[in-house]
Amino acid sequence: MTTHESTRRSEARAKGLRLAAKIATCGGLAMAALGLAEARAAGASSTPTHAVASDDAKALSLEGFKPSVGNCGCTPCWGPPAPPAKTRRSARSARPARSARRRGAR
């Protein structure tokens, strides 16, 4: 991997994130999100050495997520998940009982 390649990837990520941030407009959110996402993606591109480190090291630093949530990535599950019953939190048990009524009727 060359520094040039890493810098190009970093710049490409910044453009991709800038576009996504523009879309997620929700009551003035866009500008703040745009700056944040861009800075994160492109911050490394000014110094080539950091750019190389950033690409790999940053990704690895975020790897901690992986074991805690498992690994799926399969096409059949693109789309919203059904909430597993065991993850119901207190907020759910406190809400109006449409679901309980429906389950009871089955």
């Binding site: 990520r13 996504a20 999100a33 690994n71 693109w78 998940p81 993850t87």
Partner: protein
């Protein structure tokens, strides 16, 4: 298990074969499997929008929004055809196994039809499609051949609509949720975010292509993971918070640490 065969579709307005001279054997194999998986994925995602239509009707959402979602079904099927054309241009038959597909949840346990449909809209539009925009736009920047850039431009222009649809609906409808509906939707965010991480975690095991490979669509797993994480933490979480939802708390529950702070 059935077969997705888009050979006939790929022949219509076929792309010229791409020059693959500079691409290493490993990167070429990676590009081929990526485009094949994407063909299946785009095709299968059409059903998700199809099933969203019913939920939108049950929630009494505006007819023009429902109409747009129906068009998204067609757009996703078109994306699969575009991927098929790319596959042929890089020397692969656009035929793949279509796995058994998960049902789109109707969320019987939701507090109302509106909360039920917003769960799906957030998961699809605000999360998956916003991540897709960031990923495809990144890939487009690195793409080499003009014909490939045109394909990615076409896919990207639709994914932008799909993402925008999600943000438009959530920003308009979330403020009108009752306390109970909002609490229930907040609780679902944990499931939605965990699903996002599960779905995108395979990036970390993917190979990382060189420049010539990236130019024809071979993935760079670590770079893609960075795009995913930045999209979630810097765009999706703050965006949902701005809509009045407790997204940061849900993300913290999934992540185990407060990375979004």
């Amino acid at each position: 298990m059935s077969t997705l065969d888009l050979r006939r579709d790929a022949r219509r307005d076929a792309l010229a074969p791409l020059d693959l001279g500079d691409v290493s054997a490993a990167d070429l194999a990676s590009a081929r499997s990526n485009w094949r998986e994407r063909m299946v994925s785009e095709h299968a995602s059409a059903r998700v929008f199809g099933e969203l239509v019913g939920g939108m009707m049950r929630a009494g959402l505006p007819a023009d929004e429902t109409h747009r979602v129906a068009e998204m079904v067609r757009q996703e099927l078109d994306h699969a055809r575009l991927c098929a054309k790319v596959l042929v241009a890089i020397g692969v038959e656009p035929v793949a196994e279509l796995p058994e597909l998960a049902y789109v949840p109707s969320h019987e346990d939701a507090t109302s039809p509106l909360e039920a449909v917003l769960r799906n809209v957030i998961s699809i539009g605000c999360c998956s499609e916003t991540v897709a925009v960031a990923l495809v736009a990144t890939e487009r920047e690195l793409a080499g051949p003009r014909s490939l850039r045109r394909v990615l431009d076409q896919i990207l222009s639709d994914e932008i609509k799909h993402s925008r649809f999600g943000w438009r609906l959530v920003s308009r409808l979330a403020p009108s949720l009752s306390v109970g509906e909002r609490a229930s939707l907040d609780a679902y965010l944990v499931d939605a975010f965990a699903h996002q991480v599960r779905f995108h975690a395979p990036f970390l095991d993917m190979p990382c292509a060189g420049e010539a490979g990236l130019a024809v669509g071979a993935p760079h797993g670590r770079s893609n993971w960075l795009v995913f994480m930045a999209t979630m933490e810097d765009i999706v979480i703050p965006g949902l918070e701005r809509c009045g939802l407790s997204a940061r708390e849900a993300w913290r529950e999934v992540a185990g640490v407060d990375r979004a702070a």
